[in-house]
Symmetry: C2
Subunit: 250 residues, 2 copies
């Protein structure tokens, strides 16, 4: 019986990424954290601050993945529209969440400081639970298999760290790599033969071009450790047979 | 009569991004280059090296955007499957492209060095044109409104630079920003009022958290320069009225 593979999608909500102004830092962190927990990141979408697009994207992805993570759009300003649209995606209302309001009150001390904008951060889809925000006032939200997180990397990371232990995952994918100062076209035929012998592994070839020289990193990924070890040795032997004297194996 | 808005989607094809191993550098470059040419990047998808997923994604996005750019998967190795699946998306065959083959021959000098793997780089969807690769052997491909580029940033950038002048775009979106050492919840109410007065602009609020201090960058974007200038002044006045002494206006 083959083991269930747990999958996730990440939805990055933010005009600032699509304009090129902000460079994403949330993809690699999410990929690595989920991967270590045995959940495979299968897809990332970067979408604008547009309600209809958020609804469509969340609904499409939550139907086909075990988990959907979103980042961005949970603050107090007019462009923070994630919570209301995730609520719409689930067909539920927003409601003032008592725990979230209590957190706001603890943060601002004085009820008169909780303006309508700030109160928005305590408006949570009905039936959702909160994800603690250890840095600022706006909590994250979990509803169904969807996890709504902040966009600011430091806050997103803290939220994801608290979510990950609650997720059910499979066996983590392990990876090995072999780096060589060879252009990938030299390696292609031999590599393809190794891939054919190890169908349980995914073998990727990643060319580099630095200081006028070609190099290639060959990455082997899979959950079968014995196959990984054997195939990695075969890849190392291959690049040495092609003239690489010191392949870097990691 | 309102001007046509030209839109694009970027499809990043690569297990290496989804595993967290490689950090994407192609989103901001693509966003900025297209933006300057009056083409708005509306969506980015990162998908695995999976043929069916490539076909579905390319077909979905090419129907709704003026342009679709892809990065990754155009080399000689077994995991380079972009060209064959873009061909399938268009329902055409791959064929040996004479110009691409001539480039390979010029690169490798000797026909006997053009192995089956290398020859793959000259197999192009029927009806496609080539995008010059000034660095390595594998050309990019343009078919219909789809542009297939390399994943290595330096090569992708060279390809995009040669594509952009051929694209039809609208008026480029201009942006201004105002940065303040204020948490965004202080600014939210006033900012929302400014957004209401300038519906032709998109005003975004981007919180920062550095060295234990909150800050916010307010970004105004649009094609109406007069409105941009006026609204930027209003945002600067707003943050100064809230106690910010030296807003950084850019």
């Amino acid at each position: 019986m083959s083991e269930k593979i747990y999958t996730a999608a990440l939805v990055i909500i933010g005009d600032e990424i699509l304009s090129g102004r902000t460079h994403d830092k949330n993809i690699p962190y999410t990929a690595e954290k989920l991967g270590a927990a045995g959940v495979r990141l299968m897809e990332v979408r970067v979408i604008p601050d547009n309600g209809q697009k958020i609804i469509e994207t969340v609904n499409e992805l939550r139907a086909i993945h075990d988990y959907v993570m979103t980042t961005g759009g949970i603050g107090p300003t007019h462009d923070d529209i994630t919570a209301e649209n995730v609520a719409k995606a689930f067909g539920v209302e927003l409601e003032l969440n008592k725990a979230a309001y209590a957190e706001l009150l603890a943060y601002y001390k004085d009820e008169s400081l909780i303006t309508e904008s700030r109160k928005k951060m305590a408006m949570i889809p009905k039936g959702a639970t909160l994800i603690d925000n250890p840095v600022s006032g706006a909590p994250g939200i979990n509803i169904g298999n969807v996890y709504v997180m902040a966009g600011v990397p430091r806050i997103m990371q803290a939220m994801l760290d608290s979510i990950v232990p609650t997720l059910k995952g499979g066996k983590p994918v392990e990876s090995r790599s072999v780096s060589a100062d060879l252009a990938e076209s030299y390696i292609a035929d031999g590599l393809s033969a190794i891939q054919d012998r190890y169908p349980m592994l995914a073998i990727g070839s990643y060319p580099k071009y630095q200081n006028g020289k070609f190099g290639t990193t060959l990455v082997l990924r899979g959950i079968d450790e014995e196959a990984l070890t054997k195939a990695t040795q075969e890849v190392a032997d291959l690049v040495m047979s092609l003239g690489e004297k010191n392949p870097i194996i990691a």
